[in-house]
Symmetry: C2
Subunit: 311 residues, 2 copies
């Protein structure tokens, strides 16, 4: 089952050195979710051949412009491209007002419905559940109301060993075996033992998106053991004081969170426009957490191990 992220923007505040404002696509089992939507996100999606109307859920972490200024244009283009399906838009208080005012003044009536879901950013709670996935908020410590998002796969089923199955078992029995239940005959005797014809379920993978935030230890229990953590790293150590004052993190602080939460991999991003070269970010993070990597735009990063589609 596909589970990955594609980076559309890696810079903070402004466009600089070819780097765009924050936006990411999460692809889970071919369902696309957009997290944050800086200016030019629709242009980046066109560049990386991601069809806008495959997205049904958009999550906005906070209302600093570099995280949402591409949204109104994206919503308009979805309309122009003939969208009819409702769109679920999650964001802090104020987002609905901003969007509604602009569509009202431009006398725009969309051909689809936007279902605004106003987020509380002070606590962690579940905001979306699909057949295979849950999404919950992660309270962040930023200058204005801000939360991250935790994508977690639901527990999966055991995997059938087709070779070991008796012929002609009806689907109802196959489903029982996948749930770990044995197949019994009418007298109650076990005919097929789940353990003998299945493998344990694949692990359920998790992705945590944390931007923007100061160093924030309260995150650690919430994101423990996720396979992939994206954590903002606006500054290098040289500007640690500036990070604190502006409610941002250094790459090393991001790595400390990653190390203490024992995550699989850390992806850095939200770089300050003062940096042309980013190698120091990776170096400083790796001193604390070896499995740290720079995000770069257009890159798709798998979450956990790559597994077979049918698993």
């Amino acid at each position: 089952m596909v589970f990955d992220i594609t980076i559309l923007g890696s810079n903070s505040a402004s466009f600089a050195f070819g780097r765009h404002q924050t936006a990411q696509i999460v692809n889970h089992n071919h369902h696309l979710f957009l997290i944050d939507c800086g200016e030019g996100t629709q242009i980046q999606m066109l560049r990386y051949r991601i069809r806008l109307n495959r997205i049904n859920h958009i999550f906005i972490s906070h209302l600093h412009g570099d995280h949402y200024l591409g949204l109104l244009g994206l919503l308009s283009t979805m309309h122009l491209q003939g969208r009819r399906n409702p769109l679920f838009l999650y964001g802090p208080p104020g987002l609905a007002e901003i969007i509604t005012l602009q569509f009202q003044i431009s006398d725009t009536r969309l051909n689809y419905h936007i279902d605004f879901k106003e987020l509380e950013t002070e606590r962690s709670y579940q905001i979306l559940e699909t057949d295979t996935l849950t999404v919950q908020t992660l309270p962040l410590d930023h200058r204005i109301a801000c939360c991250g998002f935790l994508f977690k796969e639901k527990p999966k089923k055991r995997r059938l060993l087709r070779d070991k199955l008796p012929h002609g078992l009806p689907p109802v029995h196959l489903n029982a075996l996948k749930r770990g239940e044995d197949v019994k005959d009418e007298a109650g005797n076990v005919v097929v033992r789940s353990e003998e014809v299945t493998l344990p379920p694949r692990p359920s993978r998790g992705y945590a998106y944390c931007s923007d935030t100061r160093y924030n230890e309260r995150l650690i229990p919430l994101i423990r053991n996720v396979d992939l953590l994206y954590h903002e790293s606006t500054f290098t150590n040289e500007y640690a004081e500036r990070a604190a004052v502006t409610y941002h993190s250094t790459a090393q602080q991001a790595a400390e969170i990653a190390q203490r939460a024992e995550v699989g991999r850390l992806i850095l991003g939200h770089y300050s426009s003062r940096y042309r070269d980013l190698t120091t970010f990776e170096q400083e993070a790796r001193e604390v957490f070896a499995n740290s990597f720079l995000s770069s735009e257009g890159a798709t990063i798998p979450i956990g191990e790559l597994t077979n589609e049918s698993d």
Copy 2:
């Protein structure tokens, strides 16, 4: 004296085929004015090496997203780049509210002052006067309140023929000669005749920006004889009906306005995203008005004849 425009965006509605939403820079005597500000305008300015904080006046024609969605990001980046000078922002009713709401919700306090100038879009009137230039509105016929902008050079002074001037004339006399006044001695006798030591003034040039609008004959007297007309041309003749319904123009209608207003040159733009190839726009316009050209992004187009800096 420099007087030209640089096209930053040439497409309508959405980004398509590498074409951005509407934005233009007018450069008059090294003063930069921005007209409209679609999504990604600040990125385009970086691409074409135009320094954001050289701009002191921004004109927004109307509040459809493709004409202003880059504005909030641009204003933010101006702030981040240390701007202190006030910015004059001209736009229809609603613009101030949109901008103010977003800065309020993001808790942004700019280091510079924005002087909002709300435009009436139903009549043509002067909105700006500098030492050398005036700007006035052009009422357009669009689905929502919308106006274009007419940039006109003020009448210029006569040009001194340095070779023919007597030596040692004080500046007060030089200025009089440039105004066409003769220099007289104390007895009132003409000592230097302006006509003999000066050339006539250079012509005062004009630029008319007309987007978005239906075919609108009321424009003709307002823009008569301008050196350069930018007129939207969202569609080719094939979609003339769609142009009327959506309050847009075809390239041929733009050319009719150009021809009847006897302008110097016509620049087309605001192309619909349905067109990959634009040659039909130019062809259809030239059937009516030979001096028609496509706008293309990054191109700088002089207004009137190129003249010497010192003129």
